[in-house]
């Protein structure tokens, strides 16, 4: 529903004339995030500080207009998509690093700070911010906190919530609060723990205090080829089975390696059935020892063509390939649909062969690239949105893959959140009672359901809509 002129006026008074967008054609450009869901917002507001965020939320509350916080829009579950319309609260203007404390090893940042910028700014103090989603070049710390994002190095370092010390948040009534504080040990009810990962449904995050870590003195990165996904998965289990926890342990299948190699020329073996990227860090002696042990385990499990990065530049290139992998899939088909289910590590071989079979059954190409050490899958179903016939199969195949995950004792999402895409599947793993507890927390903090409505909680209406009807304006072409 378009906003009334007086609401728009109020928003402009708060955020500034140029920081409110209502031109309908422009709004269409904001309809999607990194997933394939889409819906056009009624307005974009670009606040510059906490006061403006609070004031915008108050206006929305007064008129009962949905508010959807939006970071860089790299989310992969439709979290930032304004499915009920309303105001997209674009946090990207708030991108100042307010403080880096090299002694206390913390940083205080605004939510729009891009993940990688924080590590770049901390580097002169020999510090870095550990959670490193593959989208770290673009995604925001606010978005990371809202999704409780992970990344390759979270195997060893832990996900976002392990690194957030406290947050300033604005609740649905426009009130501003600090949750938790400076200490790693959160005292009292752990509200910060509740709000990290709340996907914009409980609060807008306006400041984040995070822990920084010392850059390890020595890092070793190894690339290993395997004849098949199966053997690579076994190698992963074997490494962890030996009690070794590498800093990162990532897998890519043949399809992915081909796409990645085309852009990055990182020297990935394109003939391998799968590759593993393994990293260990620490002091030089221990990384050398660990890497030697890992090499042994990998070769016992049919690993070959092992190559260790010799220079930081080589290491960066190997990682660039891994981190750009999902984007690189565009070289095969223009769209991807992915679920990021997690399974117990020992179930990796089983779940991956199930995924492969589903792909074959639906005749859809599937590319696997994922955090193997965590058992966190990312099967990407590749297709072309312009081919609308295929959409139904894409969705069914995705659903079956997720089902396979759950059947093997896994969970719906490792790191991308539930958002829109997975909300319908929540009842697969949560009982009605579980969901009821969650919705009580939601209504305690946001009684009128103002913040990011239609997310996380299953919406029976929406489920009836086929994927083709949900991807927004982009595919509603007349001539398809």
């Amino acid at each position: 529903m378009p906003l009334t002129a007086s609401v728009i006026d109020d928003l402009k008074k708060v955020a500034g004339r140029d920081n409110v967008i209502t031109a309908p054609n422009d709004l269409r450009i904001f309809e999607r995030d990194g997933s394939i869901e889409g819906a056009v917002p009624d307005a974009i507001a670009l606040p510059s500080n906490t006061e403006q965020v609070a004031a915008v939320i108050k206006i929305a509350a007064r008129h009962n207009i949905p508010i959807v916080p939006r970071g860089a829009g790299t989310g992969l579950s439709g979290g930032a998509v304004t499915i009920r319309g309303g105001i997209a609260l674009q946090m990207t203007r708030m991108r100042r690093i307010l403080e880096i404390d090299p002694v206390g090893q913390t940083a205080l940042v605004e939510p729009g700070v891009v993940n990688q910028e924080l590590s770049l700014a901390a580097a002169p103090h020999h510090l870095f911010y550990a959670p490193d989603p593959s989208s770290q070049k673009a995604c925001t710390i606010g978005g990371n906190a809202a999704e409780n994002s992970g990344g390759p190095h979270c195997l060893y370092y832990g996900v976002t919530t392990n690194h957030v010390l406290g947050m300033e948040v604005v609740l649905a009534d426009g009130s501003v609060h600090w949750v938790s504080g400076d200490a790693a040990d959160r005292i009292g009810l752990d509200l910060c723990g509740v709000l990290v990962g709340s996907e914009g449904t409980l609060c807008a995050i306006t400041k984040i205090k995070v822990r920084l870590l010392r850059i390890p003195p020595s890092i070793a990165t190894l690339l290993a080829a395997f004849p098949s996904i199966d053997t690579a998965s076994q190698a992963v289990s074997a490494v962890i089975g030996r009690g070794i926890v590498p800093a990162a342990l990532e897998m890519m299948d043949k399809v992915t390696v081909g796409a990645v190699e085309a852009h990055y020329h990182a020297g990935y073996p394109t003939d391998a059935g799968a590759v593993l990227l393994v990293e260990v860090d620490g002091v030089a002696d221990s990384t050398r020892e660990l890497m030697a042990a890992i090499r042994d385990v990998l070769s016992e499990n049919q690993g070959y063509a092992m190559r260790e990065a010799q220079t930081p530049a080589e290491r960066d290139l190997l990682w660039a390939g891994r981190k750009g992998a999902i984007g690189a899939l565009g070289r095969i088909k223009p769209n991807y649909y992915l679920h990021d289910g997690v399974v117990p590590r020992s179930k990796l071989p089983q779940v991956l062969s199930a995924v492969g079979e589903i792909g074959v059954h639906y005749k859809l190409p599937v590319a696997n690239v994922f955090h193997a050490g965590d058992g966190n899958l990312h099967p990407n179903i590749l297709f072309d949105l312009r081919d609308r016939e295929v959409l139904q199969q894409v969705e069914e195949a995705g659903e079956e893959m997720l089902h396979a995950v759950v059947e093997l004792g896994g969970a719906l999402s490792g790191e991308h959140g539930i958002g829109l895409e997975k909300s319908a599947y929540m009842p697969w793993i949560f009982s009605p009672d579980d969901l009821e507890v969650m919705s009580r927390v939601k209504s305690a903090l946001d009684p009128t359901g103002l913040l990011n409505p239609g997310k996380i909680f299953p919406d029976p209406e929406r489920k009836k809509l086929p994927l083709a009807g949900r991807t927004g304006f982009a595919v509603e072409a007349k001539w398809w």
Partner: protein, 395 residues
């Protein structure tokens, strides 16, 4: 012709909407807006092309605000050919939009002035007089110009012979604005080529390469200039056409299939053929600004840095974001002065933080933009073309 006919739907469809390019885009970094991002621009052009959004004058500003720096293209893992997309998109936009005085003047200036060397030289001469009498400081674009010296002179016989043994014969692109704005960069570049055992040939009748025209949506003129130039290049023999202006080099590589593989940026070529041992130390703290059309369009980042590091005495310190555009982007700083100034301000902060005495780059537009920004801040950081820094080690 149907609207947006020149845009390829397949090119557009390579964008998977992942957003990895967003923060690499200078205009997104300062505005935080999807509409001012590569992904947003591609989405907009896609909707136009597919007739899902009507062409609309208001939205043209998102296309106008694109610097054409192609940083997005360099970081895009999906291989979106953004340079090709925006060039075609611009050409279509220029065809469809209402006539606009500022852009019409720009187009006329490009056709009438830049594409005609004699007129451009005359313009340079007038400007030199105006600068001497301080008349130029009244105009914004005038203030941006560097102090002009006598323009670059092609050596007698249109050949600068190799110093020492002759191993290669190269053609040198004199170009349109470089010889007038930065003759000293050209002199240094030619000297380096001679030192690197190259005979340097200056083909007669060379015209502007057409880069500025193509980037500003005048593909017809760009094609005309290409055809004329190709006739000239066909008349001589050379191992490489060496270009010391990144914008021209990238255009020649993309737009002149007839020169396939023979166009080389100065640093690319020097790294390939090698320079002799340097003669002296150059004690200086230097930072390097990647010219967009070198780093992103031609993917050349390593060679210039290697060459700089090889100069004894030089300490190369990197900016946090050496490969983000300075906001010059051809005519952009004149056509979109506000956005250009915002982007430049970020760049100058980054520059200042390095505490370098000199910033080196590889394109006249960047030199001009950085120098004018630094001048306005009262900074003493010097700006030089990479050729000028390198040649100091041999003087």
């Amino acid at each position: 012709m149907k609207p947006f006919e020149r845009l390829s739907d397949d090119d557009l469809a390579t964008c998977v909407h992942c957003g990895l390019c967003l923060d690499a885009c200078p205009t997104f970094r300062v505005t935080g807006l999807e509409t001012e991002s590569p992904r947003g621009r591609i989405y907009l052009m896609t909707q136009w092309k597919r007739e899902q959004l009507p062409f609309n004058e208001e939205q043209v500003k998102h296309i106008d605000l694109c610097l054409g720096c192609r940083t997005c293209e360099a970081v895009c893992p999906s291989g979106v050919p953004y340079g090709r997309i925006i060039e075609a998109g611009r050409a279509e936009v220029e065809r469809l939009r209402r006539p606009n005085a500022k852009r019409r003047i720009a187009k006329a200036a490009l056709r009438q002035l830049v594409a005609r060397p004699r007129r451009l030289r005359a313009f340079g001469a007038v400007t030199r007089v105006a600068q001497a009498t301080r008349a130029t400081s009244a105009m914004r674009s005038g203030r941006q110009l560097p102090p002009l010296h006598a323009p670059f002179e092609v050596p007698a016989g249109r050949l600068a012979p190799a110093i020492g043994p002759r191993k290669h014969r190269v053609a040198f692109l004199v170009g349109c604005v470089m010889p007038i704005l930065y003759p000293q960069s050209h002199y240094a570049a030619v000297k380096l080529l001679q030192l690197a055992s190259c005979d340097v040939w200056f083909p007669e009748g060379e015209r502007c390469c057409g880069a500025l025209h193509a980037h500003n949506g005048d593909l017809d003129e760009a094609e005309r200039l290409r055809d004329e130039n190709m006739r000239m290049y066909a008349s001589g023999e050379f191992d490489a056409l060496v270009v010391d202006s990144a914008g021209c080099g990238s255009h020649l590589k993309d737009f002149y299939p007839g020169l396939q593989g023979r166009v080389k940026d100065l640093s690319e070529w020097l790294a390939e053929v090698g320079l002799p041992e340097p003669k002296r130390e150059v004690k200086m703290r230097v930072t390097y600004q990647d010219a967009c059309h070198l780093a992103h369009a031609q993917r050349i980042k390593k060679q210039p840095r290697d060459l700089i590091r090889a100069v004894p005495g030089v300490e190369l310190v990197e900016m946090r974001h050496p490969d983000i555009c300075c906001g010059a982007a051809g005519l952009y700083s004149t056509l979109e002065p506000q956005m250009s100034a915002r982007i430049l301000a970020e760049k100058l902060d980054d520059l200042a933080a390095t505490r370098a005495e000199m910033v080196v780059t590889a394109n006249p537009g960047c030199q001009m933009q950085l120098a004018s920004g630094l001048r306005q801040r009262g900074s003493h950081i010097a700006v030089e073309h990479i050729s000028e820094l390198l040649v100091r080690a041999f003087l």
